[in-house]
Symmetry: C2
Subunit: 132 residues, 2 copies
DNA sequence: TATATATTTGTGTTATAGCACAACTATGCA
DNA sequence: TGCATAGTTGTGCTATAACACAAATATATA
């Protein structure tokens, strides 16, 4: 068993970035885990960028990641206890710019493409990314 | 009336700095407002440094500041509603390095020097700062 | 009015963090 | 075995943020 010391203040640092907060919000609001390609299609940001941010969230103790074939699923960590309180706070945040509701709409669309609750396809937005 | 738009993500950015989190924790735990010199004596950091961090907290919407003679009192803002939830989360954070308990001890000592609930003295730690 | 002091701020420096490009690893499938 | 693709990471660049020093502002008091 590996003991990882997680600084309490590190969670705020992890959430201080807009990209990271957008991803966490999607998972908090939907309660869903997500693979990278689903995040790419929801936030419309390049995969290398989101991959690095997911790593930061993992190191801060907010996400645990699990490889499943080609895909890596990221999910919210529920411990220690204050984490759930933190998620409740995040859920209560306003959405003044409608950024999160747009993310959420795309995320739900993307989730509907799963089969048996698992992601079966890769990044869909890459194709029309250059055309926009 | 002045409308200030506060970005929801800005609160996390404000709390991402250790100095700022230490100050907010003192106010959250004690429920007390504080002037700069009391913070200086509690965190043992230079006043210009804490003054700048207090400004960032104010601009992020976490603190409101009120001048009272020579002193400026800073207090936690209670609105919008998710702020109180955020403070509850902060109060639940662990203190793995005993930094916060040391801050708290000094802060309580400093608060006991108030007269009629108001700060009457300036920075006390400056004197023995160089000698340590 | 002059001084002491609580607090703020201008400025240059340095450390940190996010970014894009491209190369790389790993896995499923033909 | 070779290819396509999900995901990660090395690297250099750039923007941001924290810092220390010093000067400035504001207010109480002698």
């Amino acid at each position: 068993m590996q003991i990882i010391k997680i600084e309490a203040g590190a969670v705020f640092h992890a959430l201080a970035d807009e990209i990271r907060l957008r991803m966490i919000r999607l998972m908090v609001v939907t309660g869903q885990e997500s693979c990278l390609c689903e995040m790419v299609d929801s936030l419309l940001e390049p995969s290398y960028k989101l991959s690095r941010h997911l790593k930061i969230l993992r190191q801060a103790g907010l996400l645990s990641s699990q490889k499943e074939g080609r895909w890596v699923y990221h999910r919210l960590v529920q411990t220690p206890a204050y984490m759930e309180q933190l998620y409740a706070t995040i859920q209560a945040l306003p959405d003044s710019d409608d950024i999160y509701s747009a993310d959420l709409k795309r995320f739900r669309n993307r989730l509907s493409l799963r089969e048996a609750g698992r992601c079966q396809i890769g990044i869909q937005s890459e194709a029309f990314k250059t055309g926009t």
